[in-house]
Amino acid sequence: MQGLTKAFKALQMYGMNHSSFRSFYLPFCDKMTDFLKKRNELNLQIDKFKILHENHIVYEEREMDLSIAFKLFKDGIRSISFIGGLTSDELLLLLDVISQPSKDYDVALGLWECNFSHINFYVVEEEEVVDYRIPDAPVEYVDYDEKLKQLIMREKIDIDAVIIPDLKPEEVKHLMKSITDEEKATILPLVVKTLTDFLSTERSQEVIDGLIEILESCVNTKDFYNARRIAYKLRDYPEIKFIDRFENATTIMGFKDTLNVPQNELFNEFLAFIGFFGTKSIPYLVHLMPHTERADRLTALRQRIAYIAQDDPAPIIDFLKNEDTQLMINAIAIVGIMKASKAVEALEALIAHPDERVRLAVLESLGSLRQPDLVVKFMTDPSMDARIKALRILGMLKYPQVYPVLLDKIKHKSFLAFDSTEQREYFNYLTANADSNLVRILQNLLFKRKWFGRKKYRVIRRLAAMALEQIGSEESLQVLRTGAQKRNKDIQAACEIALKGKST
């Protein structure tokens, strides 16, 4: 009993997989096996707080939660016996059953389900039924033979047909598979389907309550597939605020692990489920976002929150003033996805934000919001990345107003000091916003005579040639063909490379 007590306590404290539990459990198994080898049987009587062996108290614990005796006694178990052949697996199952923490758990049923071969237990019956009366059959005159004939006619069966109910091997196989499938299959999807089908025919408070109960359990166990199916159905009942219960910090921050699970399917089910959430959940969801490790998932989550906030961007806009840069960046991205014009003013205020990441996010969102006048302001941003991004956005937005300014910049000698990536972006912008004069301007840049700084200017020639190739008109290609014939090696090389790009 000491061994059992120690193993029981260790199991309660550490769980089954802990080494401490095993260090108590294994000696207990050995002692039990040794005892049964000598005596073949061990009978224990269960009292409220005591366990007796041959009328001697071998165990006593009066603390209900800790008492093995009480756990067995409360569910009617009055004796338990172990017989020779007892295996360590059986003992482990026994310990597992008696250490179940729930007060509603029926230990007697738990032991019964274990179907032990070497542990017997006796449970007292609550009430005996001794009245074995059987009801009288209804008495009336019936011509039974005639009735049988009628039934045979009605059922249209051959009453004398030979019946051979032997199963073919493939039928046995099929049946075995059905059983395995049934044992493996989780019942939840089926019940959800049944309950939602029920609601399709009739509104029932019990069924709705049942679904909400399952929904809570699904959310707790992160079964977002079934949670989503339930939520989809319950949405038909707008008066039932079934999502409210999840729109709190504890529940939403509890989804942290789901953001980084390896299975995309689970993450996507989670995204689909939170689609049912309302504005109330937004602050918590925004706080959840920084826990996302993968960029693609962060983007997906931003899109989902944008969807949730689509009717009211105010809670997201509030985050544009947040001191936490990460939260602010996510909020900036979301207002961009939402195309929330109400956020433009707040975004404008962030154009000169000291953190480059913030400015880049603002720039992206201003692009989504089609605000070229504000995007232009980034042309003088201290960050090259921001300037390049601004050029790209302006190119996409087809914003020709900035065209002359950029041209002047290209012509200015300071342009030669720019990074090549930025230089290329200028030309990309020019081609994106090309007008009839552009071929002539590029031709001038390409063929310009340079007496000094020829080496540095080589880059401009190449970019101009590439831009001409990108325009791809007969006129621009003719310029390149002419350039390829020039004696100036730089011009010739720039044009040949561009033409080669065209041919490939």
């Binding site: 389900e113 019956e125 005996e128 009801p135 051959d158 019946i163 109910p165 039928e171 049946l175």
Partner: protein, 453 residues
């Protein structure tokens, strides 16, 4: 190889040997080959195990202390062995190293005989490598009495629990969930101890309180079928509960409609069909949402779904009923057909109801389960009354596992049409007495259920 697998294989090899000696002479090649296979296999086992011991305890067979489960692929073998040991009052058989083919064949030959012949030969001839222990008289009597009494106790307690459950639902009173759960576990125990003992009690029908007895009977039939196909205890508990609760939705159907004796109108029929839906709600009211109730919900909802996709409530094209719903579908129909009700005052004879199920497999019922159900109940199910060529009426008390059309009957009416407490006959062993036809017990003024109490 585990002890369990070894035990299963030994039984699987012993069964064809016993069947062979039943049919052929012991010098026949079939017998010799079966014995050879058996001996070869156990000789290998003796390299790791010192002896092979089969113990029969309350219809369970233990092999070297491991209980062999009745599974679909071992059911026939185990049942046969169990019945032989039971008939010969054998408690255990132990095979020892050194056993040869001839010793085994000789032993198999007497193992299929009756008790007297077995004892005579067993004492006369020595079997140096086979030990046999017999049940003591009190053990045997205790077992039979215990099984029968336990089955009755369980049945009537289950009936009371079922009745309370439904009545409480009708009246909106709280339901005792713990009792209803525990009773299913008792039913599972009862079924695994003695299948026919409790199956016989499903012949108890109640015209006035049809729903209670019907619900319980369906639960018991489903458990017996579930056990036959090898479901484990946990699954059996879920199946039994589902069987008992399958019609619980009827508490929401007006009683006048359920008890109506005339043909139902289309509208009334539509209302009655709603009981599958209502069952879902009632189970939710009763039990909350644990795994058992979830299974029961699915079964209550699907128990009128036919195998061919028809039935009610409507379902999507690719939706199939669960295994449990398919089991309950068969058991529900069988018990409903064999019970007198308001709109069916004369029930179907059990063997006739079984033929209806047989001829509707693939359409209404799962064909494989229909076959197993027929194996379970036999061509003449327990409780059937059979007219014999002697002019007597025999009541089917048990099935013969090896001859499903020749059951064990008790003579209850003699050839002068007088009710008697006659002898019990194994029609499988009778050469002269034959079945003429099944007959309605009412014609003879008997209630089959009374003979099982």
């Amino acid at each position: 190889m585990t002890i369990y697998t070894a035990g299963k294989t030994v039984v699987a090899l012993l069964y064809p040997l016993l069947k062979a000696v039943q049919v052929y002479d012991i010098k026949n090649d079939v017998v010799i080959n079966s014995a050879k296979k058996f001996v070869e296999f156990i000789e290998d086992l003796f390299s790791t195990i010192s002896s092979l011991e089969f113990v029969r305890y309350r219809d369970y067979i233990f092999f070297n202390k491991q209980r062999l489960k009745y599974e679909i692929d071992s059911y026939a073998n185990l049942t046969f062995l169990n019945n032989q040991l039971k008939n010969l009052r054998i408690k255990s058989i132990t095979f020892l190293p050194g056993i040869n083919q001839q010793e085994l064949i000789d032993f198999a030959d007497i193992l299929i005989k009756d008790k007297v012949t077995f004892l005579k030969h067993f004492v006369l001839k020595r079997y140096p490598h086979i030990n046999v222990q017999f049940l003591k008289a009190h053990e045997e009597a205790d077992e039979l009495a215990e099984n029968g009494e336990a089955a009755k106790k369980t049945y009537f307690k289950a009936l009371k629990v079922t009745k309370n459950l439904m009545q409480n639902l009708w009246t909106g009173r709280p339901v005792d969930v713990k009792s209803s759960r525990r009773i299913v576990y008792s039913l599972v125990d009862s079924i695994s101890r003695d299948e026919f003992g409790i199956l016989a009690l499903t012949t108890i029908k109640n015209f006035d309180e049809y729903t209670f007895n019907h619900s319980l009977n369906v639960g018991i039939l489903a458990l017996a079928l579930g056990q036959r196909i090898g479901l484990d205890r946990k699954s059996l508990a879920r199946l039994g509960t589902s069987g008992i609760l399958h019609d619980i939705g009827k508490v929401e159907i007006p009683k006048e409609l359920i008890n109506k004796t005339q043909k139902l109108t289309d509208q009334e029929w539509e209302t009655l069909k709603l009981h599958s839906n209502f069952g879902v709600r009632e189970i939710l009211k009763t039990r909350g949402l644990d795994e058992i109730s979830m299974v029961a919900i699915a079964v209550a909802y699907q128990h009128h779904w036919n195998f061919d996709g028809t039935g009610y409530p409507l379902r999507e094209k690719d939706e199939e009923p669960t295994l449990f719903a398919r089991i309950v579908r068969i058991c529900d129909s069988y018990d409903a057909m064999t019970t007198a009700r308001a709109y069916q005052p004369v029930p179907y004879l059990p063997h006739f109801a079984l033929r209806v199920i047989w001829s509707n497999q693939n359409r209404l019922f799962d064909p494989v389960l229909s076959k197993v159900f027929t194996q379970l109940l036999g061509i003449y199910p327990v409780g059937s009354c059979l007219e014999l060529n002697t002019g007597e009426i025999g009541l089917v008390m048990r099935q013969n596992p090896s001859t499903i059309d020749l059951p064990i009957v008790k003579i209850i009416v003699d050839k002068n049409k007088k009710k008697v407490d006659g002898k019990t006959l194994d029609l499988g062993m009778e050469t002269v007495i034959k079945i003429v036809r099944p007959t309605y017990p009412q014609i003879h003024g008997v209630n089959p259920a009374a003979y099982f109490l």
